[in-house]
């Protein structure tokens, strides 16, 4: 568990970082909190020759409001998300989900940018970002572009991020006032990735679901939006039959790998339960 040798760079601006990445090519990797990248380097599953540490770039940090969106700098740590009043008020589900990530030590270093850029299906933020309809800003030598979270994930560790690009910020639409939300995550212990997790954001009126969005974590090689499951609950009061239908629709798109968390059948089964529980809890907090 000793990494190979690498050169360390600490640019002070996004432009410098992008330039370093394009000059150094495939052998260079951005380094954010290092809590996904460094463990892989210690196992020599990743052997970058150059690390471009993004900590020197002040512009990549911070949480601000832009119109109806919350804009979060990529280098904002998970701890900073938890400490933010804006996040807690406007987007309580983000607070709730961030609290489910690992432990305080990891959250002090780990960043939201690294979490969503990593492309690991076990990360909690990607499915949540899809649920919330977030877009990511990617900046490279050719300029900046915005990619919807829903279009970003292509496979395990494969994303829309092109070589030489940096994810600089996330823009997340603030859900409607009075929305219901829940992030239900089944894990074996603190510090574990989800056996299965479900994010739900919905609005209710007169006891019936008006809008609903459901995201799934770690039940497929990419995070998933469970569109059919969400559609199944619109207009219902989340009666038992509907919940069953929604869970089944969600399970139908899951394709988890068997691992020490359990066999495929179990992970899909509890994935369905996470959807059911998230729906019920979201409805119970909706106003």
């Amino acid at each position: 568990m000793i990494p190979g040798s690498f050169s360390y760079h600490r640019p002070a601006s996004v432009a410098d970082a992008v330039k370093l990445l394009s000059d150094l090519g495939e052998d260079a990797r951005p380094l954010a909190g290092g809590h996904s990248l460094v463990p892989m380097m210690k196992l020599r599953l990743a052997t970058p020759g150059h690390l471009i540490d993004l900590h020197g770039i002040a512009a990549l940090k911070g949480i601000s409001r832009s119109g109806n969106n919350l804009v979060i700098g990529a280098m904002t740590t998970q701890h900073e998300l938890l400490a933010s009043d804006d996040v807690a008020k406007a987007m309580p589900i983000l607070h709730e989900a961030a609290l489910q990530i690992a432990d305080p030590q990891v959250r002090y270093r780990g960043t939201i940018g690294g979490n969503v850029a990593n492309g690991d299906p076990g990360n909690d933020m990607p499915a949540l970002m899809m649920t919330l309809g977030a877009t990511y800003r990617l900046e490279g030598a050719g300029g900046a572009r915005d990619v919807a979270a829903a279009d970003f994930y292509q496979g395990a560790y494969f994303t829309a991020l092109e070589p030489g690009e940096i994810l600089t910020s996330l823009s997340i639409p603030v859900p409607a006032a009075g929305h219901g939300y829940a992030y239900e995550k089944l894990k074996r212990k603190v510090g574990d990735y989800a056996t299965a997790a479900a994010a739900v954001v919905l609005t209710m009126s007169g006891g019936k679901v008006v809008t609903c969005s459901i995201g799934l974590t770690n039940v497929h090689e990419t995070p998933l939006l469970a569109a059919d499951a969400a559609k199944a609950v619109i207009g219902t009061s989340l009666d038992a039959a509907t919940l069953k239908k929604a869970a089944a629709a969600a399970e139908a798109i899951m394709a988890p790998a068997a691992d020490a968390r359990g066999p495929v059948e179990y992970r899909k089964h509890v994935g369905g339960i996470m959807v059911t529980r998230a729906l019920q809890r979201a409805a119970s907090v909706a106003k």
């Binding site: 000793i2 040798s5 212990k189 603190v190 510090g191 020490a260 089964h269």
Partner: protein, 806 residues
């Protein structure tokens, strides 16, 4: 006497002797990050070694090419079995009488086996080097399932044993067979089964797990060519044994080997045996003339240095219809992996597994253990238990619950009915032990009263009805466990390691000012010996514990001892300490008699000095006696105040306890909640109640981990799939339940201070309590036994198999 004269209570309290919740003196450095561990040892010119390991569970090694590795800047040497053969060290003896490859000799037998040792100027270069060593393998069929190990066509694992029809423990039945060990009266047991009203039979597995101390195994070896001396700093639970083993296998004179075990970050049995890393670092130091450090990483620790358990116990109990046990029959299939590297006393191939009759009065019993080889890491060690005692406790405690279920009796009731009675002690068990003391009924009843056992059973009945009506998806289980341990190995009549009797030792030197140093043959890995050993001396000789420094772990200064594992420190070393202190006290009495001008017999010991009987004002404190010992001893007496004691215990000690676990399980997800856990421990005389509580908390946390998910698992082709703390369940404070602790005190009649040892009881007794709770929760759905570990998905699987989830 004026008002300032301290009362007897105050004088006694000032000693902080036995019974005092003295704060741990070692914690001052530990909590400030100022401990001195092996990895803190940095010697001038020190090199670093690291292993090339096998990706295959079973393969022939065709070729090892180190040419590219030797080109890596900083890499100085690549050691292979061929190098080791030149010094006759390609293989090493194990404590269990087997031999083990130090580096792959023609073959690898488990995944992550040590294949080559790369020595470099720093750790990074060493790792760069191992990535450049090219090894050519020819994969062979792996043998993973121990139940298939003795099949006719099972692959031959140990080619070195070809033609050897007997091993260290008698005849071998098959090429993958290690030993068969039988105890008890087979005919009597068969007869008991033949006429039994009721019988149960179950294959109870205790899965493979690992002690996983926070600090992994490591060493620094430094060979001085001029003096011909080898100094080894290492994470050793038994430093003297390591010195002797090194002397025997490296053919170095024992006085020229200095073994130093500095602070150790947990051992739990992982650090008793000898590992290839130690040998390779020593050889590398001899070859290079420089000190060489070897530090295992977490993956290596979990997958290569000793695992624990992996016992598959087919268990049968015979009983009368009203629940009196009449016979016990157990057959164990013991998976030792590629080499039998058990760290048991040499004559005990299955440790003290014959304590399997537990706390119950079995008139007869028979036990047979078959040890077998598989393509897995070698072992197994006693993970926070006296040798194989936790396997035995699990076996009998599950069996008693299964019998209770069959008889439709309450499991606590069944135990009460079968306990050895207080008047039966010393009790001779059917499998050959002499239990020293116990009062099981009192402990059990106290547990039942304190926890409100009857009310909990009532609640369970109601919950089961609610579950049947579909009102809840939660099931409730009560896990009763009543364990008897056997610790304190051990009497020279039946315990040795490589021929060395398992005594322990203490040397006390009092200084003129009333302070002193005690050197002990045990070796703390976190147990708090620096605190508790001083407390024993404080009470015995009346010098404040704060004035006694305790030192362990340096073989040049500490008297020879067999080290710390198997809860042996208090029963054996603790006794040696008391005996050495009593020698000090005896000489002190002579000095006091001389100074007070009375006959020795006219003196009585009074807390912190000697007093003339009937003349309370004629008193000499121990402090003053220490001074006198160096300047005015009686004529003819040698000056000084020192003593050494080597203690060969007359018997083992038998701690016991009554535990209860209350658990709720959500059948839909398999997620459990430990609602309550109550642990009553009887470890005889209690030296430091706070340290006992800490030991119980730690051991229960391990028991919780083991029962509920901690596992070393291999897939069907022999890959080890639990190589990190992501998948090897290591609970954090968040998962760990709240512990309620309690005690009774039944002193050991043969131990100088009546103490029995407690460090391992909670692991031994805890595992069955958790497992019984899970099994009890599911029992009303029709199951009799569900194998550990009881992690979420397996609970769900059980619920599904029993029809509780769709």
């Amino acid at each position: 006497m004026n008002d300032m004269t301290p009362t007897r209570e105050q004088r006694s309290a000032a000693l902080e002797g036995m019974g005092c919740k003295r704060k741990r003196v070692e914690d001052i450095r530990f909590t400030q990050g100022k401990g001195n561990y092996v990895d803190d040892v940095k010697l001038p010119g020190m090199l670093h070694g690291d292993f090339v390991r096998s990706p295959h569970p079973h393969a022939r090694v065709k070729k090892i090419d180190d040419s590219e590795a030797l080109k890596v800047p900083g890499v100085l040497a690549v050691i292979t079995a061929e190098t080791l053969k030149t010094v006759n060290l390609a293989w090493m003896p194990t404590l269990a009488g087997d031999v083990q490859m130090v580096l792959a000799d023609g073959k690898v037998l488990f995944q992550n086996q040590e294949v080559a040792f790369v020595v470099a100027t720093d750790r990074y270069a060493a790792d760069d080097g191992i990535n450049k060593v090219v090894v050519e393998y020819e994969p062979l069929p792996p043998l993973v399932d121990p139940f298939k190990s003795m099949d006719k066509d099972a692959p031959v694992l140990r080619e070195d044993l070809a033609g050897k029809t007997s091993g260290a423990h008698g005849p071998r039945k098959h090429h993958n067979h290690i030993f068969e060990w039988t105890v008890g009266d087979k005919d009597l047991t068969d007869a008991a089964f033949n006429k039994a009203d009721v019988k149960i039979k179950e294959m109870i597995s205790y899965h493979r797990t690992h002690p996983s101390p926070l600090e992994t195994c490591q060493c620094v070896c430094s060979f001085d060519k001029i003096k011909g001396e080898l100094t080894i700093y290492g994470t050793f639970q038994a430093p003297h044994v390591i010195r002797t083993v090194v002397s025997l296998i490296a053919k170095l004179p024992e006085q020229k080997i200095h073994v130093i075990a500095p602070d150790i970050g947990g051992g739990f049995g992982n650090k008793v045996g000898a590992y290839p890393g130690y040998i390779c670092a020593a050889v590398a130091s001899i070859v290079t003339g420089k000190p060489v450090k070897w530090v295992e990483d977490r993956i290596e620790n979990l997958t290569a240095t000793s695992f624990a358990r992996d016992y598959h116990m087919t268990t049968e109990v015979a009983a009368t219809k009203d629940g009196k046990v009449t016979g016990l029959r157990v057959h164990v299939l013991a998976d030792h992996g590629a080499f039998d590297a058990c760290a048991d006393p040499s004559k005990w191939p299955a440790g003290f597994f014959n304590i399997v009759t537990g706390s119950y009065d079995f008139p007869t019993a028979h036990l047979a253990v078959d040890g077998v080889y598989t393509n897995k890491a070698p072992g197994g060690v006693a993970y926070r238990c006296s040798f194989r005692v936790t396997e035995a406790a699990y076996c009998i405690e599950r069996a008693m619950d299964i019998l209770a279920q069959k008889l439709n009796m309450d499991p606590a009731e069944l135990r009460l009915k079968n306990f050895i009675k207080p008047e039966q002690f010393p009790y001779h068990s059917a499998l050959g032990w002499e239990y020293d003391s116990g009062d099981y009924h009192t402990a059990m009843r106290k547990m039942m009263e304190t926890t409100g056992y009857a009310a909990l059973r009532k609640e369970q009945t109601e919950k089961r009805a609610a579950f049947a009506r579909g009102e809840t998806r939660e099931i409730m289980g009560l896990g009763v466990s009543f364990f008897t341990e056997i610790v304190g190995a051990g009497p020279s009549k039946n315990c040795d390691i490589l021929g060395i009797a398992m005594f322990d030792s203490c040397e006390i030197r009092m200084h003129p000012t009333g302070a002193g140093i005690a050197r002990v043959g045990s070796k703390s890995q976190g147990q708090g010996h620096e605190t508790t050993w001083a407390q024993i001396i404080a009470t015995e000789i009346g010098i404040p514990a704060d004035n006694i420094m305790v030192e362990e772990g340096n073989t040049d200064t500490a008297p020879y001892g067999l080290g710390t594992y198997g809860s042996r420190s208090t029963p054996v070393a603790g006794a040696a300490i008391a005996m050495a202190a009593r020698k000090i006290k005896a000489k002190a009495q002579m000095i006091a008699a001389y100074k007070l001008e009375v006959h020795e017999d006219d003196l009585e010991f009074d807390i912190d000095g000697f007093r003339v009987k009937g003349l309370p004002e004629k008193f000499m404190s121990m402090k003053d006696i220490c001074w006198a010992a160096y300047n005015s001893v009686p004529p003819g007496m040698e000056p000084g105040l020192e003593a050494v004691s080597y203690y060969d215990p007359p018997n083992m000690t038998y701690p016991f306890g009554a535990y209860l676990c209350v658990m709720d399980i959500d059948v839909d997800t398999g997620v459990y909640k430990v609602r309550r856990f109550y642990a009553l421990d009887d470890c005889g005389t209690r030296i430091n109640p706070m340290i006992i509580e800490g030991q119980v908390h730690g051991g229960l946390t391990e028991a919780f981990a083991i029962a509920m998910g901690q596992e070393i698992r291999y897939d069907e082709v022999g890959n080890v799939v639990t190589g990190s703390f992501m998948d090897f369940f290591m609970p954090t404070a968040v998962e760990t339940p709240h512990w309620e602790t309690d005690f009774t005190v039944t002193p050991s009649p043969h131990h100088p201070i009546g103490a029995k040892g407690v460090g391992e009881s909670p692991n031994v007794g805890g595992v069955p309590a958790f497992s019984n709770a899970v099994n009890d929760a599911f029992s009303f759905l029709g199951s009799t036994h569900i194998q550990m570990p009881h992690d979420f998905w397996r609970n769900w699987k059980a619920a599904k198999a029993l029809g509780a989830v769709a």
